[in-house]
Symmetry: C2
Subunit: 189 residues, 2 copies
């Protein structure tokens, strides 16, 4: 019984890695504990429950993806920026299936930390779209359009839900085109 160097952060990172590998629904305390070479009750020295871990996983994911999305928009503006941000989100979601699943639960939990994790992202999106000729209200709605599409598309991809053999990458590209053109049509010329 040596004191292992286990921290809250390490547990969340481990949970993230494991859930990406086996799926969030198969993540268990037992599995996390084994990966860390401790017994599962020992985890309670750091966390309060499995649900606690899942909530933190959700926040962890939004923080990570926020960073990647913001990075993606550096040096570009307008629709180009939006498009790059969408791709950043999509790639994160399909390369981190477990964490992404947790992110989809978003408001199943209420927390300020959760809000903090995405404020910057929303602000940035809003600022970028403010350069378009569109009312603030329309911007808010359009952000919801985009977000819904992105989360839905990634969910379907992760679940193998697209039966057709046609290219998923092309679907994503064309979908962005459709939505961007649609947003453009809202602009007051």
């Amino acid at each position: 019984m040596t004191k292992n160097n286990i921290s809250y952060e390490l547990i969340i990172e481990t949970a993230a890695r494991l859930s990406n590998k086996v799926g969030l629904d198969h993540l268990s305390l037992k599995m996390i504990a084994e990966e860390l070479n401790i017994k599962s009750p020992s985890l309670y020295n750091h966390i309060s429950s499995l649900d606690d871990i899942k909530e933190k996983l959700m926040i962890y994911g939004w923080k990570q993806v926020e960073e990647k999305i913001i990075d993606a928009a550096v040096g570009v503006a307008g629709y180009d920026a939006l498009k790059k941000m969408c791709y950043a989100f999509y790639h994160y979601a399909i390369h981190n299936k477990g964490v992404f699943t947790a992110m989809l639960w978003y408001n199943k939990f209420e927390s300020t930390e959760k809000n903090k994790a995405t404020t910057k992202l929303f602000d940035m999106l809003f600022k970028i779209m403010s350069s378009l000729n569109m009312s603030d209200e329309h911007i808010h709605h359009a952000i919801r359009t985009l977000r819904s599409f992105l989360e839905g598309f990634a969910l379907l991809v992760n679940n193998n839900a697209f039966g057709n053999p046609i290219s998923i990458e092309e679907s994503f590209e064309l979908s962005l085109e459709i939505i961007m053109k649609g947003i453009q049509s809202l602009e007051e010329k």
Copy 2:
């Protein structure tokens, strides 16, 4: 110990009702059994596992929503038909949260029954969109756009994920406008 009139169908219907009330993740054999006034092991005379029930719930949902969507498109054509179908899907999803959650798992299970449940729907969508001036490939992609948006939007609504106080109904309406306009822009004039 009287023989209750329990059938496979009754179990699925009960599971649907209960999951809509308490959420799919809180659905348990215990709960279903209690609702039917039997003990949970007795369920195994009709079903093979809890996962079995969830898979059938998914199929049940797609069958129901297929019917509603098809009904919604009677007597209308083109974009109007598409829009009505989208609304039918959306309303089903937010009024049947538990079943809808199961539907999102779509391809977590492989089955021919699952395919049968949506063939008519896809065929109909395809036929409607064939009246637009668009290649078959673009139609397939656009259907994915629409489906992703719809499933994503409903998921977010069901999870209370839209923090802003602005109207969700208006977001849905405007989103459809955005996507329809975007699809229109693909048409070869």
